[in-house]
């Protein structure tokens, strides 16, 4: 039976940094995940807050031009989202240690993502019904099985 729905995967900030910054451990799997959006069977989501954080980190490294190239690509091929008030409420109620991460998770949940890709060890321990938390490497392994 043909599958009707596209897989939805949310990209954490560290995945975007993996792609941009030289010498990161998960660089290749993260790039493959981004490329999977071109296969038209995976719908990728990221949050605008991630790009704001990255722009701050890269502001002294002449990285703005490269960040804008990535952002332009993401805007053209993926969904760049912003959390709403309900995501913020849910993040507050979750009681999680890192509020920023909780907002991203709440937003990923609200848009019914099947996967949340991250290399954050604390997020990888999370359990939410219907959403799997995976490292970029594990996500790519699933596609290669």
């Amino acid at each position: 039976m043909e599958q009707i729905l596209k897989v939805k995967a949310f990209l954490d900030t560290n995945i975007l940094l993996d792609i941009l910054v030289q010498g990161r451990n998960n660089a290749l799997p993260s790039a493959i995940i981004l490329d999977s959006a071109m296969l038209k069977k995976v719908e990728l989501f990221s949050c605008i807050q991630s790009y704001l954080d990255i722009s701050y980190i890269l502001r002294n490294a002449n990285g703005k031009k490269n960040l804008f190239t990535l952002l332009e690509w993401m805007l053209n091929h993926t969904n760049v989202e912003y959390p709403d008030r309900f995501d913020v409420w849910e993040a507050m109620e979750s009681g999680g240690k890192d509020f920023e991460d909780e907002v991203l998770v709440a937003h990923a949940k609200s848009i019914a993502c099947d996967y949340f890709t991250t290399s954050d060890q604390e997020l990888l321990q999370k359990e939410i019904p219907g959403m799997h938390f995976l490292t970029p490497e594990d996500f790519v392994s699933l596609m290669q099985e």
Binding site: I4, L5, V7, Q22, D35, T69
Partner: protein
């Protein structure tokens, strides 16, 4: 006879209250409007598969809606478009003093790059 009646009442109560309640049975009562021809076809196919209509339709819906990742080869080559973005920023680790003077950078650096 009385014992049998009591047993039936207890069984019915348990079935309705415990088993059929969504939080125990993990099923929610719902309704769909279907084409009668389609419904008949589903009934026939469910019977042929020795399943109830409910179980058969649920199985079809699970199969149709489950997320299936696209398959890629082990030696998958990243497209040129992505290669252009790949590792294009050389990032120098800030000094302790720089991090001390910039708490926001300190927070972000520790969160994402340590």
């Amino acid at each position: 006879m009385l014992y049998l009646a009591v047993w039936i009442i207890c069984y019915t109560f348990a079935k309705n209250v415990i088993i059929m309640t969504p939080q125990f049975g993990h099923r929610v009562q719902t309704a769909f409007r279907l084409d009668p021809v389609l419904l008949e076809r589903l009934k026939r196919q469910a019977e042929a598969n020795h399943q109830s209509l409910n179980a058969y339709v649920e199985l079809i819906l699970i199969k149709a809606s489950e997320p299936v990742l696209p398959k890629i080869p082990k030696n998958y080559q990243v497209s040129e478009e992505i290669k252009d973005l790949f590792g294009c920023v050389k990032l120098k680790e800030p000094t302790q003093e720089e991090l001390k003077n910039d708490p926001k950078l300190d927070y972000l650096w520790n969160k994402y790059l340590r």
